[in-house]
């Protein structure tokens, strides 16, 4: 189309855009048609990259699952199998590693739920206005501390404390097969607690704040104390949000590799309640994620070890995908509930 015809079509209105504007407009129409596809490709690529990740990890883990099936999960003895694998053996059982991950994460979840709920109620309801911003900053600061720093401080402070003050002199008599030296399940729980706490606190605070003010006002008007409105109205209403926060925190905990590898003793041992409720927490563990970083170096050159480590990565993927599905379900429940007044909660 010649330029003058273009101007005639596009600028019939007197006093409208000038010719230069029109040229710009025609040019951007072309990019208007082109850009959505480019942007859409970026979005779809980003959304699908996780399937690539699953594909590659599972494909590399396939030899170990194919050879061992469920025994990979149910059998124990990781540490000795790892030694043997250098000499050609190719059998692995990761039960102790799963136990290490689950015990440390559950313990940390329990503690950070209690502590974090206190922090969330404080932030959402109790804190005086001038204290809110600084405390929020501190929680974000805690979330920003790298895991290797948590590991270092945990190793120098928590592990040393446990070794000096808590490990009894006769520990060797009770647990003969492993050394008790301060690096243990308890240290992992303590360190992990403060690593996952900020994520729970952030989500929990947002959930508590999302509870409509009218619910609380109704309770106060009926003569309930401030504390009772929190316990009887806000917490039950925000419960799905709290669950989602807890599940997200669990996902962080189960995937934490570096800090646990530094403070938990790095021995694939299942803490045994029969040794006594205190000893159990003083026994070392090794988690799935920490086993990967500890052996992901030269050992990756041995095909059977590499397959076993990819098997662990597959298990971690399964855990984290399941947890993120539960979190999505809980968030959905929460946002639906925020629209509906439920008598049950009052």
């Amino acid at each position: 189309m010649p330029a003058h015809a273009e101007a005639a079509v596009l600028a019939p209105v007197p006093g409208g855009p000038t010719a230069i504007d029109l040229k710009e407009r025609v040019r951007s129409t072309a990019s208007d048609q082109f850009m959505p596809y480019l942007l859409g490709a970026a979005a779809i690529f980003s959304g699908l990259v996780v399937t690539l990740l699953v594909f590659f990890v599972v494909q590399k883990a396939w030899p170990v699952f194919h050879a061992e099936g469920l025994r990979f999960i149910t059998a124990g003895g990781w540490d000795t199998q790892l030694e043997d694998a250098w000499n050609g053996s190719a059998f692995f059982g990761v039960r102790a590693l799963i136990a290490g991950s689950v015990f440390s994460t559950l313990g940390a979840l329990l503690v950070s739920f209690v502590l974090g709920l206190g922090c969330a109620i404080f932030l959402a309801e109790l804190a005086p206005a001038w204290l809110r911003r600084p405390f929020e900053t501190i929680v974000q600061l805690l979330a920003g501390i790298p895991s290797v720093v948590f590991g270092l401080v945990g190793l120098m402070v928590v592990v040393t404390f446990i070794a000096d003050r808590m490990v009894p002199g006769n520990s060797g008599d009770v647990v003969t097969e492993i050394p008790i030296g301060g690096a243990c399940l308890l240290a992992a729980i303590v360190v992990l607690t403060f690593m996952i706490l900020p994520f729970f606190v952030t989500v929990a605070t947002d959930s508590l704040r999302a509870v409509p003010r009218s619910y609380v006002d109704g309770g106060l008007a009926l003569g309930m104390t401030r504390w009772r409105t929190i316990m009887r109205i806000q917490l039950p209403t925000a419960a799905p949000g709290l669950i989602a926060g807890l599940v997200l925190a669990a996902a962080r905990g189960i995937g934490e590799a570096i800090a646990i590898s530094m403070v938990a003793g790095a021995i694939a041992f299942v803490p045994n309640l029969a040794h006594g409720p205190l000893y159990m927490f003083l026994e070392p563990i090794r988690s799935m994620a920490s086993a990967i970083v500890e052996n992901g170096g030269e050992a990756m050159d041995v095909p059977s070890i590499a397959a076993a480590l990819f098997g662990l990565a597959t298990l971690l993927l399964a855990f984290s995908i399941t947890l993120s599905m539960i979190a999505r379900w809980a968030f959905g429940l929460f946002s639906r509930r925020m629209g509906v007044v439920s008598d049950r909660n009052l």
């Binding site: 407009r25 699908l48 590399k60 404080f122 109790l126 929680v139 600061l141 290797v148 992901g296 971690l316």
Partner: protein, 314 residues
């Protein structure tokens, strides 16, 4: 009588509950401040010009163990490369999610679920993913496979680590950037459209400039995540403390260095902690102090940008 004591119990119960919430918050704040104070206290002695300006040396005694120059450079390379690599994709995806996508479309749902899942994948799994992908022959050009320059690690290099790290931080950057774009008031868009601007021009000339502080927040947060991660670096950058080339600062050596193994501050700390092979806690604390200052500066910058952005948006 009964109801009076019950009320009394309740009052006591609520004061105890409130006191416990205060106690929990004070405890958490104390732990956070203790960690930072402890790092400053322990790391202060290690930090001097020599520590910052020499490369790590493999040594059994802490006096001759060298400093953290290459780890610092390594962190800088990794952080900058990973963010630059994914920024176009991240902003494109954020714009598309915020401006074009219909939330009821099934593809939208899949993309959202995919991003959420990606965000929940532990970083150690990203590291394994990187090893699985970049040891394929097709990607040979990204890492040096031989022993040239002292690097023995095939499939482990700055380029590989940056790509994997970029994928790791991608969902977080997209999320923050999308929220920034969504927070731009409708009236700005309507004004631009009413003036006859097309949709893409509106986005480019009006929405993106207005969302710039928020997008900058996303970038800085992503940089903080990349700087603090250890597992990906440990697995995909190799465990060597120095660069592939001793004369890494020479511009002509850029390719061997980027294709070679190395270290960042995080892997330096991991290696030198009493749990690692290096076992020189003094150097580890010095590096930890440098790292924490870097991460805190990044996070505070993100917060300042975020506040500026939300002021501009409202």
């Amino acid at each position: 009588m009964g109801s009076i004591t019950k009320q009394g119990n309740r009052r006591i119960g609520s004061s105890i509950g409130i006191a416990l919430c205060w106690a929990a918050s004070i405890a958490v704040a104390a732990v956070c401040l203790f960690i930072i104070g402890y790092l400053v206290f322990q790391g202060w002695h290690a930090i001097n010009w020599h520590f910052l300006s020499t490369d790590p040396v493999a040594s059994l005694s802490e006096e001759s163990a060298g400093g953290v120059r290459t780890p610092m450079v390594g962190t800088a390379i990794l952080v900058l490369f990973s963010i630059v690599l994914i920024l176009p994709v991240a902003i494109g995806a954020a714009v598309y999610l915020a401006e074009y996508m219909d939330e009821r479309w099934w593809i939208t749902r899949i993309v959202r679920i995919g991003l959420e899942t990606l965000a929940s994948v532990p970083s150690v799994v990203f590291g394994m993913f990187g090893l699985a992908v970049f040891t394929l022959g097709f990607f040979k050009f990204l890492s040096s496979s031989g022993t040239e320059g002292g690097s023995m690690a095939f499939g482990r290099s700055f380029l590989v680590a940056s790509i994997v790290m970029g994928v790791h931080i991608l969902p977080f950057v997209i999320k923050v950037a999308e929220e920034a774009i969504r927070s731009i008031p409708k009236s700005l868009r309507q004004g631009a459209l009413a003036l006859g601007m097309t949709k893409w021009r509106t986005i480019r000339k009006v929405v993106l400039p207005a969302a710039a502080p928020g997008i900058a927040t996303a970038v800085v947060l992503g940089m903080g995540l990349a700087a603090g991660d250890t597992a990906i670096v440990w697995l995909t950058l190799g465990g060597t403390m120095t660069m592939a080339s001793d004369a890494w600062w020479k511009f002509s050596n850029w390719l061997p260095v980027l294709r070679g193994a190395g270290s960042t501050l995080t892997t330096f700390i991991y290696f030198n902690s009493p749990a690692g092979d290096g076992n020189s806690p003094g150097a580890a604390f010095g590096a930890a102090l440098v790292l924490i200052v870097l991460v805190l500066v990044l996070n505070l910058t993100a917060q300042l940008l975020f506040r500026r952005g939300s002021k501009a948006g409202s």
